[in-house]
């Protein structure tokens, strides 16, 4: 460059700025006029430049966003021998720049500004940026002898080269600045994404991401809260120790609570704080961040609100620039995506766990049921246990006490999944381990309640159960119930169905419970039905439950048609399935049938 000959400056620039006020446009325009006159620009070009500048400035003033009203509008004029270039910055939301703005209707009072700029300038380009937008307009200078620049061909070429060099250098600087900023943001995000891929530590990821953000956005602190199951904002990560941060309610119940974070979450909008809008004394942020300025940004993904991010710096600094805000919002959006992703993954995992757990529970439940039924002479036994997709705690057992006596146990553990299956297993063990208690079902229930009470009450579960001792030697059944469905029985002699209700409380409700016993005389042709509420709760297409009344009718009607326990079981299942129109079970459905088949044998003998 040092070898270039000295000559009048080939590229002269003029910089000025104006406040966001229409009255400042004319003085700025006159400054430009003076500058262009000094450079020997022709009158026609000056008029064009003045008009274009005025229109650009008018736009910048009239459309500035409220938050940018304090920013100045920068004007740059570059005068080269061949052209005049005007740059005008604006802090507007940015307007749509058409390649060719049509002439507005003749009676229109507005809308000629852009038309003028395009009409009187040779080039016009609008650059939208994150921080500010920039209108760059060029006006070619008419080649006149009045140019103050030397007319010498070589000098002109050098001057032209210089001016072009200066222009491209400036463009390069701008681009480099932009690129640096963008790439820093991108690099931070990429770095954190890679981290996230390596571990499932969302908090650690968020912490590192936002530490980077502090650096990039020149912020001093952040507090990210997420919505917890109680619908309160609780701290997720923060740049300081946040052990003392209490949860903040938001939404309708937050009325009267002065927390800007809750406000931002409730309104889903950015909320500012700073010297002009100080934090209220009650605001949880104030204790840690007195004399701060910044804003709270709601973190959300589409319509899903995830939480809030408060970010700030010392109030002695100026507020965040548009560019910094843009970066902060970008990070918040990115965090929102990651939080949602992590939640979805967690949900999938827990769904897998739940289905795995249900599988285990079903396995336990199946293994508890007796593989074979005890045999009694002249008395048939049948059992059915259908499980719903959601495993409940239905359970039955048949225990041979002597050649002439059997203990029937039916129970429903209130609860689902593995815990319910485990209690069913406990109940089974308690019964099987103590056959000597079987002489009195009521006594047995009392003892079992005593055994299981502590475990059941700890997990707020209970068991309804019915224990029946079928004693053929004494031709009687002793019934003890703990809050269970009534036992139904029919005999050949009685026309109607008898129901033996369980007077006692379910197991696990009170520690010292006592239970009553009912003794049924087993007349010839007796049928006993023990069931869980899944039977009476079976519903038809209209949503009506099957109910005890229908069950009693069925037993009365089938007394004659089905003369064995197995036949009764088959017709009851068919009746229930027909009633439900084969829709899937919503609850477990279990029943036990004991039927005096002695008469059949007698009849068969008679026929022979």
């Amino acid at each position: 460059m040092s070898c270039l000959p000295r000559n009048p400056p080939a590229c002269v620039t003029f910089r000025t700025s104006l406040q966001c006020d229409l009255s400042e446009v004319t003085p700025t325009r006159l400054e430009l006029r003076e500058f262009l006159q000094e450079q020997g620009v022709g009158q026609e070009e000056i008029s064009a430049c003045e008009l274009a500048l005025a229109e650009a400035c008018n736009n910048a003033v009239q459309n500035a966003t409220d938050e940018a009203r304090n920013n100045v509008i920068e004007v740059l004029a570059i005068c080269t021998p061949s052209k005049v270039e005007l740059h005008v910055s604006d802090h507007t939301p940015g307007f749509e720049w058409a390649d060719k703005v049509p002439l507005p209707a003749i009676e229109a009072e507005h809308g000629r500004g852009l038309f003028f700029i395009q009409s009187c300038m040779d080039t016009a380009n609008y650059f939208r940026g994150p921080d500010e937008n920039r209108l760059v307009m060029g006006k070619l200078r008419a080649p006149t002898g009045a140019s103050p620049l030397p007319a010498d061909g070589d000098d002109l070429r050098v001057a032209d080269l210089r001016s072009r060099l200066a222009e491209s250098q400036q463009a390069l600087t701008e681009m480099a600045r932009e690129l640096c900023f963008r790439s820093e943001t991108l690099a931070a995000i990429c770095r954190c994404s890679a981290d996230l891929g390596r571990s499932n530590d969302l908090k650690g990821f968020a912490q590192r991401l936002l530490d980077d953000l502090l650096h990039i956005a020149a912020a001093e602190w952040f507090v990210v809260r997420t919505i917890n199951p109680a619908n309160q904002l609780s701290v997720f990560v923060a740049s300081i120790d946040h052990a003392s941060f209490a949860d903040v309610p938001f939404g309708p119940e937050a009325r009267g609570i002065i927390s800007l974070e809750a406000q931002s979450a409730a309104s889903c909008e950015d909320v500012e704080f700073g010297p002009e809008r100080p934090l209220a004394p009650e605001d949880p942020l104030l204790a840690h961040f007195a004399d701060a300025c910044g804003f709270i940004h709601p973190i959300r993904m589409d319509q899903t609100l995830i939480g809030t991010m408060a970010i700030g710096r010392s109030a002695t600094d100026s507020g965040f620039s548009i560019r910094q805000r843009e970066v902060i919002r970008t990070f918040a959006d990115f965090l929102a995506i990651q939080v949602l992703n992590a939640r979805l993954q967690e949900q999938q995992l827990s769904n897998r766990l739940v289905s795995h757990e249900l599988e285990i529970a079903r396995g336990i439940q199946r293994s508890l049921l007796p593989k074979t039924l005890p045999q009694l002479r002249g008395f048939g036994l049948a059992a059915s246990c259908e499980t719903a997709r959601q495993v409940g705690g239905d359970f039955y057992d048949l225990l041979q006490i002597s050649p002439t006596s059997v203990l029937l146990v039916i129970a429903d553990v209130m609860g689902k999944g593995v815990p319910a299956a485990l209690f069913a297993a406990l109940l089974r063990s308690a019964v099987r381990a103590n056959p000597e208690w079987s002489s009195s079902p009521a006594e047995m229930l009392t003892r079992i309640n005593h055994l299981l009470f502590q475990d059941l009450s700890r997990v707020n579960m209970f068991i309804t159960a019915q224990i029946v001792l079928l004693d053929l030697e004494r031709r009687r059944a002793v019934v003890g119930g703990a809050g269970h469905c009534p036992l139904l029985f029919a005999t050949a002699g009685s026309k109607h169905i008898n129901a033996v209700a369980s007077q006692g409380m379910p197991l696990g409700i009170v520690r010292k419970a006592s239970f009553e016993e009912t003794v049924i005389v087993l007349e010839p042709g007796s049928r006993l039905l023990l069931y869980t509420d899944g039977v009476t709760e079976s519903r038809n297409a209209a949503g009506e439950p099957f109910g005890q009344e229908r069950l009693e009718s069925w037993l009365a009607a089938s007394w004659k048609s089905a003369n064995s326990a197995e036949a009764l079981k088959t017709t009851l299942m068919a009746t229930l399935n027909k009633f439900e129109s084969n829709s899937p079970l919503s609850d477990d459905r279990t029943f036990l049938i004991a039927a005096d088949e002695h008469q059949n044998a007698t009849q068969a003998l008679k026929i022979k």
Partner: protein
């Protein structure tokens, strides 16, 4: 800016510029001065060295105002500079405003 009301004709002169910074004031002051029964409005642009789109907007607004209240009233632009006359021609507004060049 000077406003002179001769009864039939309202004359506005001494206008330095018609731009965003003063166009609202120009429109409001002239509107207020329009006498009933006005026959014509003459806007002397000989001292005016700058007109922008807001200035044009104010002139159009004024034109619509007088013609809606006072019947057909011509609005004349007196002695605009060549570059300002160009602006009117560029926007075809010379079709509604009468451009008058004295001498």
């Amino acid at each position: 800016m000077k406003i002179n009301d001769s009864g039939d004709i309202l004359t506005i002169s001494n206008i330095k510029e018609l731009a965003a910074g003063n166009s609202d004031m120009f429109r409001d002051e002239v509107r207020a001065a329009v006498p009933s029964g006005v026959k014509a409005i003459e806007i002397d642009l000989s001292d005016t060295d700058f007109v922008d789109s807001c200035g044009l907007g104010a002139l159009i607004s004024l034109y619509k105002f007088v013609n809606s209240r006072h019947g057909p009233v011509p609005v004349r632009l007196i002695n605009p500079t060549p570059s300002i006359q160009q602006i009117f021609e560029l926007t075809r507004l010379h079709r509604i405003f009468e451009i008058v060049k004295s001498e």
